[in-house]
């Protein structure tokens, strides 16, 4: 027997769960929360291990030192590090029905990161039935990113930096949640392998209509701890090549600097910025980045 009945579209009443309304409300909360943010910039790389998180945290600290009000959202939910690198102690975020206060770093950067929320040495895990977690894992992580944007009391910010995890999926999530995303900073290392992976990410950004503000080449040589001279480390010229291929700017090159890494591990970004070759390179990058944003 074939039942004859109206279709979803023909039944004109609203859906009882008002799912579209619920999703729209989520989107509105993001927009309302970020109404006081003058510029939102994502930092990404198509490749892991290029020093993206340290670079992002250092850019945030450098901007704060210039008197800007800066937020740092760590969108790397699985491998969060922004709080530690920024020198934030993971305890006691104030929360009430209107939202959650971000942590504040010694440099004055407002930080939200999963490493403030989960126990040390604990991998990010979700409450879930059975073993088919791949079905909803992406939705959960996107939901967490949405909540970090919408439920954290960011307040008035000159700049919100979003540190994206390796890969491209989170950029797509962010672009959907934040149609007003002001731009993207792309991090690479000099090698051809990095260039190929990062180039794909930049192509995706172009497809999504996201403006690339510039490229940063990290680990561009080795800064000698004794004399400060920068020597060759990796072969390649990926930063400039990517900038040329994708019609954008090379914001700068940061040498690998063991002193800088040591300061970052201790959350002493101010020391890193003031006393290392890498810090000086990042200051120059911030000059160009702020110019590109405005």
């Amino acid at each position: 027997m074939t039942l004859k009945h109206r279709t979803y579209s023909e039944v004109t009443g609203t859906d009882a769960s008002r799912m579209v309304d619920q999703v729209n409300a989520q989107q509105s909360r993001v927009a309302e929360r970020l109404a006081g943010v003058k510029a939102c910039v994502a930092v990404m790389s198509g490749k892991g291990g290029v020093g993206k998180s340290l670079t992002t945290a250092a850019i945030a600290a450098a901007c704060a030192a210039r008197g800007l009000t800066v937020g740092l959202l760590d969108a790397d939910l699985v491998g969060p590090s922004a709080a530690r690198m920024s020198g934030v102690n993971p305890t006691g975020l104030e929360v009430d029905e209107s939202g959650v206060d971000p942590a504040t770093s010694p440099a004055g950067v407002r930080v939200m990161s999963m490493d403030l929320l989960i126990e040390d040495d604990t991998p990010l895990a979700w409450r879930e039935p059975g073993s088919e977690s791949f079905v909803w894992r992406g939705a959960q992580e996107r939901g967490a990113l949405r909540e970090f944007l919408a439920d954290v009391r960011w307040g008035e910010l000159d700049l919100l930096l979003v540190d994206l995890p390796p890969g491209t999926q989170r950029l797509i999530d962010l672009a959907e949640l934040l149609p007003c995303l002001d731009g993207l900073v792309v991090i690479t290392i000099p090698s051809a392998a990095s260039e190929a992976a990062v180039s794909r990410s930049m192509s995706l950004a172009a497809e999504k209509g996201i403006r690339v503000l510039g490229v940063v080449e990290n680990m561009a040589g080795y800064a000698c701890g004794d004399c400060g001279e920068v020597r060759s480390l990796f072969p390649g010229d990926a930063g400039q090549r990517l900038a040329d291929q994708h019609d954008t700017t090379l914001l700068g090159r940061i040498p690998f600097d063991p002193d800088a890494a040591g300061h970052a591990d201790m959350g002493a970004l101010d020391q890193m910025m003031d006393h290392t070759v890498a810090g000086a390179a990042i200051e120059a990058i911030v000059d160009r980045l702020l110019e590109a944003i405005t």
Binding site: V11, D15, A16, V95, L117, W136
Partner: protein, 155 residues
């Protein structure tokens, strides 16, 4: 998602939602014409998929809490991650004046068994639920009812 009573050609209206505690969900829909009620039953994976989106089948009854998805779905949250406003103590709450929702001692004791990562949020959800339903005292029975109605599994 809409439910249609084919016999009456009427859209059915959402009646009730229950989470029995085994990861499944039941939502009842009633035909406004013939009063027939049907139940939609979802398995744990279907239930999880919907909750992962941060949306509620049947609509949202109480306001969404900050970081609700993270606090309710993440395992291994820091006990000291949050400092929630309004720590619940029955005597203090009872003294807070007419019209306030009060907590029975048993309810407070039960709340103290909830992991601190989610406790403040759960407390606000129960209080919102009580206000929505004109309930003046939150007891363990009311908490059970709210858990089932709102889908607070694991809280």
């Amino acid at each position: 998602m809409k439910f249609l009573c084919i016999e009456c050609d009427e859209q059915m209206i959402f009646e009730q939602r229950q989470l029995p505690g085994d990861g499944t969900l039941a939502a009842a829909f009633r035909c406004p014409t013939c009063e027939r009620v049907v139940a939609m039953l979802t398995n744990p994976m279907e239930t999880q998929l919907v909750s992962s989106l941060g949306i509620k089948i049947g609509g949202r009854e109480v306001p969404e809490q900050p970081l609700e998805l993270v606090r309710s779905e993440v395992v291994g949250g820091r006990e000291d991650a949050f400092v929630d406003a309004e720590a619940p103590l029955p005597v203090e709450v009872r003294a807070s004046g007419a019209g306030a929702v009060v907590w029975s001692l048993a309810a407070v004791e039960r709340l103290e068994g909830v992991p601190r990562f989610v406790r403040g949020m759960v407390k606000r959800i129960y209080a919102d639920y009580a206000k929505q339903h004109g309930i003046t005292e939150i007891t363990p029975e009311i908490m059970d009812r709210a858990r089932s109605d709102l889908g607070l599994e694991g809280m």
